[in-house]
């Protein structure tokens, strides 16, 4: 007899790897809580968070939309509504999320940095691709930012579940007012100024600290909420560290994964969902990686969501699976929208000059 003798199958590597399907591996067996079909979800984070929201909606889940397209805004324009619960765009670092929440709840002043694009439209530098069509004027961009932050605060107060997909630890900081950008100035909009734009790679300790502050803000404003953290398996497009982007990717993901492990221990309302492991573990082999070996295939996303629904919302999974499959297979338009959402709207892609020209 030894301490491992009576452990379940999923505790053992060999048995896990021999499982016939991802559901049998039971990646999420360590879960703290499940969700109800009526729970309203908010998703935020890197590109992978968009997959999550789309699949959740497609399967009949309830994604809270706090910032909605007003009927006076034509549906056909690039308004940026509908990708996330509010128009915050991709949030790659925990610090970026923290600063957004601090501004939304007026813990720190609202940072208004706006830049005029070559087409004459204005861009909010703290969400430069969240509103692709831009704004008519700086005043418009500023007013929209204030309203956006208001919707973020309302979203936090009203939601049941906050799903945050962490992306990376590398960021560019405005050293004058001390806030971080989602994308370095000069790539999507604005001008890169070496004196006031500094690279920073968040450490494990900083990430843990930032995550804890995020959790504190959320629970201070919605004590009944639950938080589900994930790590995006999608690699960095580029690194500003003087080393291989592959090494930087592993470093970033490792720090994020370890930081999450640290905070979930101390916060009962916070849990981790292993989408990262489902995609990157040897169980999946290379089957979940798209061409270029950076993005995740449709099959990979489906597998992650299958595990999620099986583990966290089994009732929803059974109830709407047929509907979801029918909808997905029959609606070309949906697929096109999804593809656009997942490629065009990924800010980080714009770091790579080869992708920028696409």
């Amino acid at each position: 007899m030894n301490p491992y003798a009576n452990l379940p199958r999923q505790s053992f590597w060999k048995a896990s790897m021999q499982s016939p399907g991802a559901l049998d591996v039971d990646f999420d067996c360590g879960r703290k809580f499940t969700f109800s079909v009526t729970d309203s979800f908010v998703t935020a984070g890197s590109c992978f968070a968009q997959h999550f929201a789309n699949r959740l909606t497609a399967r009949g889940g309830n994604v809270l939309i706090a910032e909605q397209r007003h009927p006076m805004v034509p549906e056909s324009c690039e308004h940026g509504y509908g990708l996330f619960s509010a128009r915050y765009g991709n949030i790659y670092t925990v610090r970026q999320l923290l600063e957004m929440l601090e501004q939304a709840f007026r813990i720190r002043p609202v940072h208004g940095e706006f830049s005029k694009r070559s087409d004459g439209r204005w861009v909010d530098m703290l969400r430069p691709r969240a509103v692709p069509m831009g704004f008519s004027s700086k005043a418009q961009a500023c007013a929209d930012r204030n309203y956006h932050l208001y919707t973020v605060s309302e979203m936090i107060r009203k939601m049941n579940v906050f799903v945050f997909t962490t992306g990376l630890t590398e960021a560019w900081i405005n050293t004058i007012d001390n806030y971080c950008y989602p994308v370095v100035p000069g790539v999507v909009a604005g001008v890169f100024l070496p004196d006031s734009h500094r690279f920073h790679n968040f450490t494990f300790a900083e990430t843990v600290d930032d995550l804890q502050k995020v959790i504190n803000i959320i629970f201070a404003n919605n004590s009944a909420a639950r938080i589900l953290l994930t790590v995006s398996p999608v690699g960095l497009v580029a690194t500003a560290e003087p080393r291989s982007v592959i090494v930087s990717t592993v470093a970033s993901k490792s720090i994020l994964r370890a930081a999450i492990e640290e905070v979930i221990k101390n916060n009962p309302g916070v849990d981790y969902f292993p989408s990262y492991e489902i995609i990157t573990s040897p169980y999946g082999g290379a089957q979940f990686w798209a061409d270029g070996l950076r993005d995740v295939t449709e099959k990979g996303v489906e597998t992650v969501m299958d595990v999620f629904f099986h583990s966290r919302m089994p009732y929803l999974r059974e109830q709407v699976k047929t509907h979801s499959e029918t909808q997905l297979s029959q609606s070309k338009e949906f697929e096109e929208k999804l593809e656009k959402a997942l490629t065009d709207e990924c800010d980080e892609m714009f770091l790579d000059p080869a992708l920028r020209s696409k």
Binding site: H70, P71, Q140, Y147
Partner: protein, 287 residues
């Protein structure tokens, strides 16, 4: 005996009624009302059923306080079914101004030294008066205050709506400039009513008013002023005089005072008297 020449020609949609009612005897001569429509006040009886004459007519000025004697007016009512006076069309990529035959014929007969006063269109900004959409606001250069915690609609979309409205009257006035040599004066519509709920007649909007109520005063004025600014810019480029709403008829927020209002969107005869005084000042210089 030779009839005296009119002081000016008036071409008007519904906003012209205030002027005609305010200073002329036109109702005695031309209007036949077959039956009373309770949705409208007296001023707009017959407006929708075609009982107002469709051709130009002369009206004598009976208000002695105004330095005008006679007006020749063409009032285009809903019941007349005339449709757009002029419309910009594209013929194999080339823009072409299509002008209605009746409009063109009437302008031909007016061609000369007398000014033409337009009170065409003007109800377009009133399309926004009902509070039928989710809350919103927009940024405007004249009224800087914006409502907190509501979506701020990009000015681009606001201006798209306004451009569409303005083009309705603009192309009619372009047609006048194109066809005749008369000086042109355009009278802006009155501003939004101070208390539209006090209107005795909700016209065809009764159910909608009950269901939605009215948009905030500030937003109604924003829409109106933006419409007027855009129109003034275009009309100035046409060398067209513009008559603004009389200051005495407006309250401190820029809304139409109750005592000058008729129904939901129009000025009454008292308002028309004030407009007439402004026109009377411009007409001699425009001849």
């Amino acid at each position: 005996m030779k009839q005296p020449a009119p002081d000016f020609y008036l071409i008007a949609h519904s906003h012209g009624v205030s002027l005609l009612d305010g200073i002329t005897d036109w109702r005695k001569k031309k209007l036949v009302v077959d039956e009373h429509d309770p949705r409208y006040g007296e001023a707009f009886q017959g407006w929708f059923n075609g009982s107002i004459m469709n051709d130009p007519f002369s009206a004598n000025v009976i208000d002695n306080t105004v330095l005008l004697n006679k007006i020749e007016a063409w009032v285009i009512t809903c019941g007349s079914k005339i449709g757009p006076l002029a419309k910009l069309e594209s013929k194999s990529g080339t823009p072409n101004l299509r002008i209605s035959r009746k409009f063109s014929d009437i302008l031909d007969s007016w061609n000369g030294p007398l000014p033409i006063v337009s009170m065409l269109n003007g109800n377009e900004p009133a399309l926004t008066m009902l509070n039928r959409l989710p809350a919103y606001d927009f940024i405007d250069q004249e009224i800087s205050a914006i409502e907190a915690n509501v979506p701020i609609i990009d000015e681009m979309f606001i201006d798209q709506s306004i451009s569409a409205w303005v083009s309705e009257v603009y192309f009619s006035l372009v047609a006048i400039k194109k066809l005749v040599r008369n000086k042109l004066i355009h009278v802006l519509p009155p501003p939004p009513r101070e208390n539209p709920l006090f209107s005795q007649h909700f016209e065809v909007l009764s159910d909608l008013v009950k269901r939605h109520g009215f948009l905030s005063d500030q937003l109604r004025v924003k829409w109106y002023r933006r419409y007027c600014r855009r129109l003034i810019t275009l009309l100035t480029s046409l060398d067209c005089n513009v008559v603004a709403p009389p200051a005495d008829a407006c309250n401190s927020d820029g809304l139409l005072k109750e005592e000058y209002a008729e129904g939901l969107t129009h000025g009454n005869s008292k308002y028309g008297q004030l407009i007439a005084k402004q026109i009377a000042l411009i007409v001699p210089t425009a001849r």
